[in-house]
């Protein structure tokens, strides 16, 4: 992040090979496949199984070319599959363009592929965007000579709740099986049977449950794999496609939103070789219905003084009520982690220039002073640091407080690719999860909360990378140990938060100690600099309160009002306390897409636009800006910046920015802070004392009960079951039988899970944080590293 690699742009010399394709001489890097060398001279050889990101297999035989000279003076006797043929010096290749033999071979092959392919294009979801359809027209015979009956299969088969398989349409190219095995590492789909009965399938009772299964639908060159959600919803020519960025995690995956008549029909992976290549997680693909649920807010709501109910009101009226309520109070601002960079900047400016407070925090989760200092020192305004590409070059990648498969799916796939290229992954975690196993990760076992000790014991080289997850900030001394570790080795460190808006919020200054661009609040020069740019007399100079502080101050009456955007109370360190605090607050303004759990405490609820209805920028964990445009124009759907500008105007101190473009421009003009960075102590903090109690480890699984996954019902059925994991000794000590029901409790509440044995350290249990209706934070008021009580649930009932 702060450490930049000077030599990262060096170009390695490539050995070129010269060959002749269709009488055109072309030089390509050694090892290139003929099919791609032909693309360079503008010849597209038809293909089905070939995919640039998958290993060559030569399964469909569609890309046959004639090779009169293989580079050794001798020709190949029969047409060759150009997708498995590497170039050789002096090779001569004739494609269908110049060789009648290649053309005939391709036409013949296509006729074979179509022999058993049903003529159901009118009812097939791929119809209109189907490589088989397209290539049958461009490289096939117009007439079929096959008059016998076609092979029939029962259709469609659910290989998972998300993915439907129509075996009649399959051309056995194995793109799906290769993707699952090579890229996702979930080989739950494979070729079964032999001969004419050969087909794709799953093992009995083992559905294709992969976090990345949706990608197989997209790369299927025929309509054999289709999406259960999108089934028969529309046709390619109905759809308006808009490139966008996924809002579910901090990876910034490029996506494509396809909409029809004002409704999003589906989302597909975008193609960005620097970020997500062509893959996205199922969450990015299928979870998009959350913003159009029934609880979507369309008009401002104001609490009626007499009835105490929220009543609809006009925008000018609601903004005036919000302004009147906020004026003369001591406000705190909680922004949540899902804002775009521009909206986060609007909140940061609104808090400082309009409300005159530094009590602003984007972290709707437990926080620590260490993390605040770390973000100020290492992350804020630091620009692009470690990139996805750097993971390929890294010797070792250390994961600390981060479970990439669940918390950053795109990063997981890139790590997996890096591992195939020889990168070693070391995970500082409580146990080897399925995701870490797929990365061949070496486990450095650590009890949650004591990661610092494990990190201190590591040593790295200067090409190595440490990826610090959000949870490392909760371990006392964890981030300090990570900084210390990379400092000793000259390695590099990146902070990988969970939410799409986290990194942007740090850059935009949604922190109590930071102004936009990483300017420290404590620096008089930074404040003066910003005050001049904003045209205000002065900015508040005292360091503000963080999330925990704001909640406590609201409860104690030190703060009397709150502006809350996109925060779920269940994510906060103590949801019950947060509810009580909002109850105490005199005035609460809530900016929300959908009526959430803040609304019951809000005096004014102002509806804001979801990402699909506004433009903006997410900053991903690399520090790469991922701008996106409005996909759906919905009148009256306003971004947060516009709403905050409205309140500011009613308060008599205009915000100075009224839209996303203006906010982006102003933020760019401000630039990053070039003065001294806030200090960060790497002194060893005291690890938590051993209490003898069972320590909880928990994080949110990719597919869980999160509100951004509401409505994606078939997708949510592919979630992993919620299981409590602990080692046999821990379970035995609590009298819990593996496979039996275990009870996890604190003073605040209890939850039951089915227990499973896993390789956790003694006295540590893991549960998913928000799966199958149990929100651990809400129920137990506990998080990673907190003590809990494990017992047999039958005992409790007895």
């Amino acid at each position: 992040m702060t450490v930049t690699e000077p030599g990262s742009t060096e170009v390695t010399p490539v050995e070129l090979v010269t060959l002749t394709i269709d009488d055109v001489e072309v030089s390509v890097p050694k090892g290139t496949l003929v099919i791609r060398a032909a693309e360079l001279i503008g010849t597209e050889i038809p293909r089905f199984c070939d995919h640039p990101l998958l290993e060559p297999v030569g399964a469909c035989r569609q890309c046959l070319v004639e090779v009169p000279d293989a580079g050794n003076g001798r020709g190949m006797p029969k047409p060759q599959a150009s997708c498995t043929l590497e170039v050789a010096p002096g090779m001569v290749v004739n494609t269908q363009v110049t060789s009648p033999a290649a053309d005939k071979a391709q036409r013949g092959n296509l006729e074979f592929l179509l022999a058993n392919h049903p003529l159901d294009c009118p009812v097939c979801d791929k119809g209109g965007e189907c490589p088989l359809q397209n290539q049958a027209l461009s490289h096939g015979n117009g007439e079929s000579r096959f008059i016998e009956s076609k092979r029939l299969f029962a259709k469609p088969v659910n290989v998972s709740e998300n993915v439907l398989l129509d075996r009649e349409r399959c051309v056995l190219c194995q793109r799906c099986t290769r993707f699952s095995e090579e890229i996702a590492g979930d080989p739950f789909i494979a070729l079964l049977e032999r001969g004419a009965q050969q087909q794709i399938g799953i093992a009995d009772g083992e559905p294709f449950h992969s976090y990345f299964s949706g990608n197989t639908i997209q790369i299927c060159p025929v309509g054999a794999l289709t999406s259960a959600d999108y089934r028969f919803r529309s046709r390619p020519f109905d759809l308006v496609s808009v490139p966008s960025v996924a809002e579910h995690d901090a990876c910034g995956a490029a996506i494509r939103i396809d909409h029809r008549r004002g409704k999003v029909m589906r989302r597909l992976a975008g193609d960005d070789p620097e970020v997500n290549e062509e893959w996205i997680t199922d969450k990015d693909r299928f979870a998009f219905t959350w913003s159009t649920r029934d609880d979507r807010l369309r008009t401002p709501l104001v609490r009626d003084a007499e009835s105490g109910e929220l009543q609809p009101m006009s925008w000018p009226g609601a903004l005036a009520v919000a302004a009147r309520g906020l004026s003369g109070t001591q406000p705190g601002v909680l922004t949540g982690g899902r804002l775009t960079l521009e909206d986060a900047y609007a909140y940061a400016k609104f808090a400082r220039a309009v409300l005159g407070t530094n009590d602003i925090d984007f972290r709707s989760r437990p926080v620590s002073d260490e993390e605040t200092a770390f973000l100020a020192h290492h992350v804020a305004g630091a620009g692009r640091g470690v990139t996805y590409r750097d993971l390929d070059r890294a010797g070792t990648v250390v994961l600390a407080g981060l479970e990439p498969e669940d918390e950053a799916g795109t990063l997981f796939l890139r790590l997996r690719k890096a591992v195939k290229n020889g990168t070693r992954v070391v995970a500082v975690a409580s146990h080897l999860t399925r995701g870490l196993r797929k990365l061949d990760a070496e486990l450095v076992s650590a009890v949650p909360g004591r990661e610092a000790e494990a990190l201190a014991g590591l040593s790295l080289g200067d090409t190595d990378v440490v990826l610090a997850g959000e949870r490392l900030g909760l371990a006392p001394g964890g981030l300090a140990a990570a900084v210390d570790l990379v400092g000793r080795a000259g390695a590099r460190l990146a902070w990988v938060p969970r939410r799409a808006g986290d990194r942007g919020a740090v850059d935009a200054g949604c922190l109590p100690t930071l102004l936009p661009g990483g300017r420290p609040v404590a620096e008089a020069e930074a404040r003066a600099d910003l005050a001049a740019a904003w045209g205000v007399d002065q900015l508040p100079d005292t360091t503000g309160r963080d999330t925990v502080g704001i909640i406590a101050a609201l409860a104690a009456g030190e703060l009397t009002s709150a502006v809350i955007g996109g925060v779920e109370l269940a994510d906060l360190p103590d949801p019950a306390a947060a509810r009580a605090a909002l109850e105490t607050a005199e005035f609460v303004v809530s900016l929300e897409v959908r009526a959430g759990d803040v609304a019951p405490y809000a005096d004014v609820v102002l509806p804001v636009a979801p990402p699909v209805e506004k433009s903006g920028t997410f900053v991903n964990w690399e520090g790469r800006r991922r701008p996106f445009d409005t996909a759906l124009e919905v009148s009256g759907s306003l971004p947060d910046v516009r709403v905050l500008a409205g309140i500011a105007e009613e308060l008599g101190t205009p915000l100075g920015i009224r839209g996303v473009a203006a906010a982006r421009r102003e933020l760019d003009e401000l630039g990053a802070w070039d003065g001294a960075r806030a200090p960060f102590e790497t002194a060893r903090a005291n690890p938590p004392a051993e209490s003898g109690a069972v320590v909880l480890d928990t994080w949110k699984q990719l597919i869980d009960d999160g509100r951004l996954q509401d409505g994606a019902d078939t997708y949510r059925l592919t979630a992993r079951p919620a299981r409590l994991k602990a080692n046999a000794a821990t379970l035995a000590a609590a009298n819990v039988e593996p496979g039996g029901s275990a009870r996890l409790s604190t003073e605040r509440g209890a939850a039951e899970f089915i227990a499973e044995v896993a390789d956790l350290p003694d006295g540590v249990v893991w549960v998913p944080a928000n799966s199958e209706g149990v929100n651990v934070r809400s129920v137990l008021a506990a998080g990673p590293g907190d003590p809990v009580t494990l017992s047999d649930s039958r005992e409790e009932r007895a």
């Binding site: 009118p122 089934r231 028969f232 046709r235």
Partner: protein, 186 residues
Amino acid sequence: MSTLKETLWDPVAGFGVTFRTMFKKPVTERYPQEKRPTAPRFHGRHQLNRWPDGLEKCVGCELCAWACPADAIYVEGASNTEDERFSPGERYGRVYQINYLRCILCGLCIEACPTRALTMTNEYELADDNREDLIYEKSDLLAPLLPGMTEPPHEMLISDDHHDYYRGKSLPIVEADDATDSGEAR
């Protein structure tokens, strides 16, 4: 300066045409009192046809909408389920609208239809006094139920294999119950 011919003959000559026409059969049609049949292949209002058991032929493929040069057709497909079957096979047209304010009755849609679900009738009286009523819904376009047809949703009555419908092989095998009853009464 007009000639003698222009002054005297030309005004009378026009009445000659009128006089001759008096003895010819008039071409005027007394519409709407008398409605003359159109040419048999006249492009009139569309119709969504049914299979002999009443199931809809439309599979919601939207090829008609794709072919339409006036963008007058809107279709949404949906899945048939075991409980609710509207057409043989997997897919049916859940929404089918033709906007006759836009339709130019060119017939490209019926050429595009892969199941011969969409054809054109000879009905030409497509006028109304408001715009909404000129967007014909599926219920307006579906062919009337002929004897032996049952209003969908119902299961496939002709054959369990939906391919048999398209082959036109075994039509009609199953007689509807009420048809049998009336036969006995006779």
